[in-house]
């Protein structure tokens, strides 16, 4: 037994040492038992204690706190607390021991004092655990206790068979499922809405703007039997679609352009993400790709998309107090984990931060595995990589720079015995001209992680002879698997930067070798980690470069030995000394230096790319499970991964940061993931029809509400996946369905049976959200500026103190009349007129806005300077459009706002009112009216 003991603890100690922990921590953490350990037999000594003292509450029949002690795997998993009941070989860390020995105040087990374990019994349990908790028999099986859940949403998406309903009403699969449920509930559907109703509904729903009177009239007049589906296509093609629907996504991902908390400072580079979302929707980017880009866009060519990760709040107030700092960091990561769980998967991962999930099979360990995926992400701006054209220009300048530096070499001041330290952006190795066929670059140490070189240039004079295009061949010790952008071939492809680089698959080590097409005399090698300057990790800090003519007759030509030690400081320019040369020669040198500086300046200008608040990435250290989520209560280390009950990712503690995110993204975006497709089609349904088939759109777990139409939900999910994850395909299905196209008229009989419209016997009317209200107003008054994209406009007057203050604007002009999606989104503070229409504060993910009706909304819409100005502008427009013909003005206003002719009573009332109070008072009322503000 003693011999069995040692390897376990040694293994632990070795692991800790490997992680670079200090020795004192290692000694504390690795629990070495007293020198003599008695043995404890499970069957005869341990199990009887468990049966007598524990099984009443934690046995086969009852599992309080979801803890059962009758199976070894369940013990290792633990109960609600997230603490494993036993840690093999480590009784001191075993929660079971802490509880039975009363080490945790107020939680001594068993609770009944009469039943407490004796010292001897506790010692037996300790002995058994320290010896590795050997448990013979089937109950001792070490198989994973990640109970396979039978909950509906964790099962694969099924191919739903369409109900065999023969009914002319059915336009597509949606209607068949809806009609089936309607009949089951003895309900009938409404008739189709009228043409004006349909175009207005679709336009507001899809584009967030009312249709123009001309569009309405043309649609009414269109005799084509396909008129409605043609309208659907036209609407799906409108760029306003992305402007309307991006809002839903931005709510969901808690996007804002300030940090929140007390300082609430601006994030001036956050808006490109908003444009990214609008473009992605308009381009109908496949949803799986859209999802992947937001988690790991830097790995797949859409760098700005990772702004999603850091779209949430960030506490700018920092302190030397470590407790505060650690808690702030935990909160940042929790925001990412929780948002990713709820927004993409409808999974409330955040519930497992402090304990195992109460309802779903999410262990606390799973939460921290997820944290290990996000742990390398920091809030902040990041410059985007260069475009192809910029690349080429930079490469050209680089060639010129090489030439100039060559010419300047004689003027370089003697810098002493040591060369400058290595630098991530570029290093030059000069040596005596040497004949070579093979050149090998061997890395013995990096500043972090597996080594990376973006390009190895080997010069013979001014010609780079290493390029694969010249026939040179590259080999290496290893290459990071799974990354196109880091494969071996990138080392000599003539392209610079991280996205065309080689990364070894050995932490801190690796070699790369170039075999030239023939023996060549070489005298200079240029290499860098990332010539674009985005990344500074993985830099070779100890290396040697050897050459040979025949294989394996290596001769070193350069190494890090004569360099100053790497400190991470910025690259220093060599100093020049012209004075020691004759005047004309010195003048020539100065001119060369001028040229060099000009070229360098142009290069750095070229290298300025867009900067986006998209986060920065670094290789994280070890992630530990935290007892009760407390930052200082570290428990065992966890590997990066996802919810074990749902899947497994092919990553480990050794995986580079980016690979971790990419693995998670690919798993979430896979067709095998049972949640992803269901979650997004349910959201689409909800935004179209006011309510999801699952009423808890961000919780498809056990605590959520089951779907009203499970088959329909799966059918839509399958449609999405089978049509290359096209969101527009699902929009098209919904918009073309008879269900969606029903009239919104209430019917007494149906209301009686289904006031909530959960069986969809009509299109349920609803008030518009803040953004389409504001946008619609601007559209009908004729001042809407429909410029898309770019930096936004402010809804506030901002006082630029250390702590920012946001005051309502006092006056408005054309710069304020773009669509509200382009209004800079300030966290917490709500825009002074429309914010009270339930705009989210962007502190957390909002899957569905509340829909309040309050007197403050009425006051803002009726009295605010913004609205009075709009009423006046509307009056001006009516006069412009109709001259002084009052009848025409009234009709025009009704057509613009409601898409219909006024009826006789409305006409007469309007006419009388305008005669009495004037046209702008009329406009003020119409812009406040219910019909204008509702989708019906």
């Amino acid at each position: 037994m003693i011999t069995g003991m040692i390897p376990i603890n040694l293994r632990r100690a070795v692991t800790l040492l490997f992680l670079g922990w200090t020795l004192s921590v290692t000694a504390d953490e690795a629990h070495f038992p007293n020198d003599r350990i008695p043995t404890a037999d499970f069957e005869t000594q341990v199990r009887p204690i468990l049966i007598a003292k524990c099984f009443d509450c934690h046995g086969p029949e009852t599992q309080e706190s979801h803890l059962r002690l009758d199976r070894r795997a369940a013990m290792l998993r633990g109960g609600d607390s997230g603490e494993p009941a036993i840690v093999e070989g480590d009784s001191a860390q075993s929660h079971l021991i802490q509880l039975v020995s009363g080490a945790e105040t107020g939680k001594r087990m068993p609770p009944n004092g009469m039943n407490r374990l004796s010292k001897g019994e506790i010692q037996l349990l300790r002995t058994w655990i320290d010896a590795g908790a050997v448990w013979p028999g089937p109950d001792g099986a070490a198989d994973d206790e990640t109970a396979k859940s039978d909950h509906w949403s964790f099962q694969p998406v099924r191919t739903s068979r369409l109900p065999g309903i023969d009914d002319l009403w059915v336009a597509n699969g949606i209607d068949a499922f809806v009609l089936q449920k309607l009949s089951e509930h003895s309900l009938t559907h409404n008739a189709q809405a009228t043409r004006p109703e349909l175009i207005r509904r679709m336009s507001l729903d899809m584009l967030g703007l009312p249709p123009t009177p001309e569009e309405v009239r043309a649609f009414i007049a269109n005799r084509d039997p396909q008129a409605v589906s043609l309208l659907v296509e036209k609407i799906l093609d409108s760029p306003h679609y992305g402007e309307r629907w991006s809002r839903y996504w931005l709510d969901l991902v808690r996007f804002a352009e300030t940090n929140g908390y007390e300082t609430n400072r601006e994030r001036p580079n956050a808006w490109p993400y908003r444009d990214y979302v609008i473009r992605s929707l308009n381009d109908d980017k496949p949803y799986d790709q859209f999802l992947k880009e937001q988690i790991a866009g830097d790995a797949i060519g859409t760098s700005e998309a990772t702004a999603y990760l850091v779209a949430g709040p960030y506490d700018l107030v920092k302190s030397p107090d470590i407790n505060l700092t650690l808690m702030q960091r935990q909160n940042e990561l929790d925001d990412m984990i929780n948002t990713t769980g709820t927004a993409f998967m409808g999974l409330t991962l955040g519930c497992a931060r402090c304990h195992n999930h109460k309802f779903d099979p999410i262990r606390q360990t799973d939460y921290y595995s997820m944290q290990a995926i996000f742990a390398g992400i920091q809030h902040g701006d990041r410059s985007l990589p260069l475009t192809e054209q910029q690349h080429q220009e930079v490469a050209k300048i680089d060639q010129q720079l090489v030439h100039l530096r060559d010419q300047l070499k004689p003027f370089v001041k003697d810098a002493g015995p040591h060369r400058p330290p290595v630098n991530a952006r570029g290093n030059e190795e000069l040596f005596e001209p040497t004949a070579a066929r093979f050149i090998r670059f061997t890395i013995a140490q990096t500043n972090a992680s597996q080594s990376c070189i973006d390009e190895l240039e080997i010069f013979s004079g001014t010609t780079n002879v290493a390029l694969s295009s010249t026939g040179a061949k590259a080999t290496c010790s290893s290459a990071l698997p799974g990354y196109e952008i880091h494969k071996l071939e990138n080392i000599n492809d003539g392209r610079f930067g991280n996205s065309h680089s080689w990364i070894s698959n050995e932490p801190g080590r690796g070699w790369i070798q170039i075999e030239l097409s023939k023996v060549v005399t070489v005298d200079r090698i240029v290499w860098a980690r990332d010539r674009e300057g985005q990344f500074g990790d993985r830099l070779a800090t100890q290396y040697v470069i050897e050459v040979s003519v025949e294989p394996d007759q290596w001769k070193p030509v350069a190494s890090s030995a004569d360099r100053l030690p790497f400190t991470g400081a910025a690259l220093t320019q060599p100093e020049y000394d012209f004075a020691k040369f004759p005047n004309d020669k010195a003048e020539q040198g100065r001119q060369l230096l001028n040229q060099l500086q000009e070229h360098e300046q142009r290069k750095s200008q070229l290298q300025v790319t867009a900067t986006v608040y998209a986060g920065t990435f670094q290789q994280p250290g070890a992630t530990h499970r935290l007892f009760r989520g407390e930052p200082l209560a570290k428990r065992e280390q966890v590997e990066p991964g996802t919810v074990a009950a749902l899947g497994k990712l092919a990553i480990s503690e050794a995986s580079p940061e980016q690979q971790r995110r990419l693995a998670l993204a690919e798993w979430m975006a896979s067709k095998e993931n049972p949640l992803t497709a269901r979650v997004i089609v349910n959201r689409l349904w909800q935004f179209h029809l006011g309510k999801g088939l699952v009423a808890t759109p961000s919780d498809l777990g056990k605590a959520g509400v089951p779907p009203t139409h499970p088959e329909l939900l799966d059918w839509l999910a399958m449609e999405l996946m089978e049509h290359n994850w096209s969101l527009k395909h699902v929009h098209r299905l919904i918009l073309n369905s008879a269900t969606y196209q029903q009239s919104s008229q209430p019917r007494d009989d149906a209301l009686q049976a289904d006031a909530d419209t959960q069986w969809w016997w009509r299109f349920p009317p609803r008030r518009l959200e803040a953004e389409p209200i504001r946008d619609s107003i601007l559209a009908v008054t004729g001042v809407l500026d429909d410029r898309m994209y770019g930096p936004g406009f402010s809804g506030f007057e901002v006082e630029l103190e250390n702590v920012r203050h946001y005051f309502p604007k006092k006056s408005y002009g054309p710069e304020d009349w773009r669509r509200m999606i382009y209004m800079t989104k300030v966290r917490l503070e709500k825009e002074s007129v429309f914010g009270v229409f339930d705009c989210p504060d962007a502190a957390t993910s909002v899957p569905k806005r509340s829909r309040s009706t309050t007197p403050l909304q009425a006051l803002n819409l009726f009295n605010s300077p913004f609205m009075l100005q709009q009423a006046q502008l509307f009056a001006d427009r009516l006069k412009r459009d109709c001259g002084d013909d009052r009848g025409k003005q009234i009709a025009r206003a009704f057509w613009l706002c409601y898409g219909r002719e006024p009826d006789a009573a409305e006409f007469v009332d309007s006419q009388t009112f305008i005669t009495d109070q004037g046209i702008s008072a009329f406009c003020r009322a119409v812009l406040n009216s219910n019909e204008f503000l509702f989708i019906e």
Binding site: G260, E829, A843, S850, L856, Q917, A925, E936
Partner: protein, 503 residues
């Protein structure tokens, strides 16, 4: 019947004739619907009005009257609440928590604190308060000379000396005290109260936040935000110098024109409603304009202090011409009383604003020169706040009004290294209660001999919140709102009513 958007009227009560409904006839349907709201999964296991159940109690909210008064979970001691919030972290050691050891060990290091790093860094020595403490009231409670007027009311007060926070930074600290969470985006205690209980006077907002005349508190609107509760329940912020935005009729429009436009709008809306008979969301929007019109009259009236007697004005110090800050805050105190008097359910009154002009200049954040800074803030707070309590008492309101005095955290018993002020300290600090249902005079809990850490009868902010809700007749474990997978509570998953402080 399984969805969560609150007040989405037509989902709830689509019935012909709803407009004629007076508020009782349909209540059973309303109840059923509201329980179905929020995706309630667990059935009620006990009836409304009883205590001891474990499942949520949903307020019965009529879409057209979201602020209608609603009954509490059990009979309440307090009908309304005023929370006086000292922004910036008011030092307990210079006001209400008397520690002779600070005098005895003045100038010596705080034992065990040589390596202690607090918010701004290292500690200097233990420092006595620049203000002397004296026995006050019949109870003889030791209270400092910084707040003599408040001290005189010691017999009405119930001190909790062992409050423990969760953070030592202002924004999250204010969030924690106002919303129960250090993060942004959770509903404030006032929003929870308005959601649960509505208000007694629908012509005024159910929940009013009164910012300091110098500006909003440090975490600004999140102190009175609705979080994920319907926007209807957020605090409406105004004070005597800052009116409600867009409340007043625009100057360019005459009263008669305004009224006629309102009439025309109503006719447009009613004709439209005719096509959607009984749609409550449409009906609610019609009522909201009527309520707005009433507020246009009632709010200027409540903000108008000209009807206050000269003696009242003087009692609050609102006529102090030498201390403008004090006079400004005093006017807000009078406004607070007027709001409570008229049935506003929850009033949040701020003393201290965001940081401007340096630390501790505009609020209680006394890092640098505590004596100079608090010499300004003490007099601003003291007399007006004391007058507010006296006034409430005189008018018979204190017996069913709960007065809460709080701040985001306390301060250190030491001065900061290299400064003459105290750093942040969430480990133990003082808040007090007065009025409805509160045991007074009484002191509960204690910090250690230096006033550094709470050691006796520790009260978390969750406990403090649970106690306030209890006094309002609300069970903090059953006042919940479903949001993103959780039945959210003001008290998260913690909180115990501090029964010892109940009368």
């Amino acid at each position: 019947m399984q969805h969560i958007d609150l007040l989405a009227g037509h989902h709830l009560l689509n019935r012909r004739g709803f407009l004629n409904h007076t508020g009782t006839g349909l209540s059973s349907i309303a109840l059923t619907m509201m329980l179905a709201e929020q995706g309630l999964l667990k059935a009620e296991d006990t009836k409304l009005g009883t205590v001891g159940g474990t499942s949520s109690i949903r307020p019965v909210i009529e879409p057209a009257h979201p602020f209608a008064p609603r009954s509490s979970h059990f009979p309440a001691a307090a009908k309304r609440v005023i929370v006086i919030f000292c922004s910036g972290a008011c030092s307990h050691l210079d006001t209400f928590d008397y520690k002779p050891e600070l005098i005895a060990r003045h100038g010596q290091p705080l034992p065990g604190a040589d390596k202690l790093i607090t918010f701004q860094g290292e500690q200097g020595n233990v420092t006595q308060s620049p203000w002397k403490f004296q026995r006050r009231g019949e109870c003889g409670k030791m209270i400092s000379d910084l707040v003599p007027h408040l001290g005189a009311l010691a017999d009405d007060m119930c001190f909790l000396h062992s409050i423990k926070g969760k953070t030592n930074t202002h924004g999250p600290g204010e969030n924690y005290m106002s919303t129960g969470f250090t993060l942004d985006g959770f509903p404030s205690i006032g929003a929870w109260t308005a959601y649960a209980l509505g208000t007694e006077n629908e012509n005024l907002p159910a929940y009013v936040a009164i910012p300091d005349p110098r500006g909003t508190p440090q975490n600004s609107v999140n102190n009175w935000g609705p979080g994920f509760l319907p926007a209807a329940y957020q605090g409406t912020d105004f004070n005597t110098s800052l009116p409600i935005r867009n409340l007043a009729r625009p100057e360019s429009i005459s009263e008669s024109a305004d009224g006629k436009t309102r009439g025309f709008l109503k006719r447009l809306n009613e004709r439209h409603l005719g096509r959607f008979p009984g749609d409550t969301e449409l009906a609610a929007r019609i009522s909201s304009y009527e309520l707005a019109a009433k507020m246009q009259l009632s709010i200027p009236e409540v903000r108008d202090l000209s009807t206050e007697s000269a003696s009242t004005i003087a009692m609050y110090g609102a006529d102090d011409t030498e201390n403008i800050l004090k006079a400004g805050y005093a006017k807000n105190c009078i406004l607070a009383r007027r709001l409570l008097e008229q049935g506003v359910r929850f009033v949040q009154l701020f003393n201290g604003a965001y940081q401007t002009g340096g630390e501790g200049v505009s609020n209680w954040d006394g890092h640098k020169v505590l004596k100079d800074q608090y010499s300004i803030h003490g007099p601003v707070l003291d007399q007006p706040t004391a007058a507010l309590i006296i006034d409430l008492k005189q008018r018979g309101l204190l017996k069913d009004t709960l007065v809460v005095w709080c701040t985001e955290f306390g301060r250190m018993p030491t001065f900061q290294k290299g400064a003459s002020g105290r750093d942040h300290n969430p480990e133990g600090f003082t808040c007090w209660l007065a009025g409805a249902g509160v045991k007074a005079p009484f002191s509960y809990g204690a910090t250690d001999e230096f006033g550094y850490k709470a050691i006796e009868n520790i009260v978390t902010v969750h406990d403090f919140h649970a106690t306030i809700l209890h006094l309002l007749g609300l069970d903090h474990e059953r006042l919940t709102f479903y949001y993103n997978g959780l039945e959210r509570r003001l008290t998260d998953v913690e909180g115990q009513v501090v029964r010892d402080v109940l009368a």
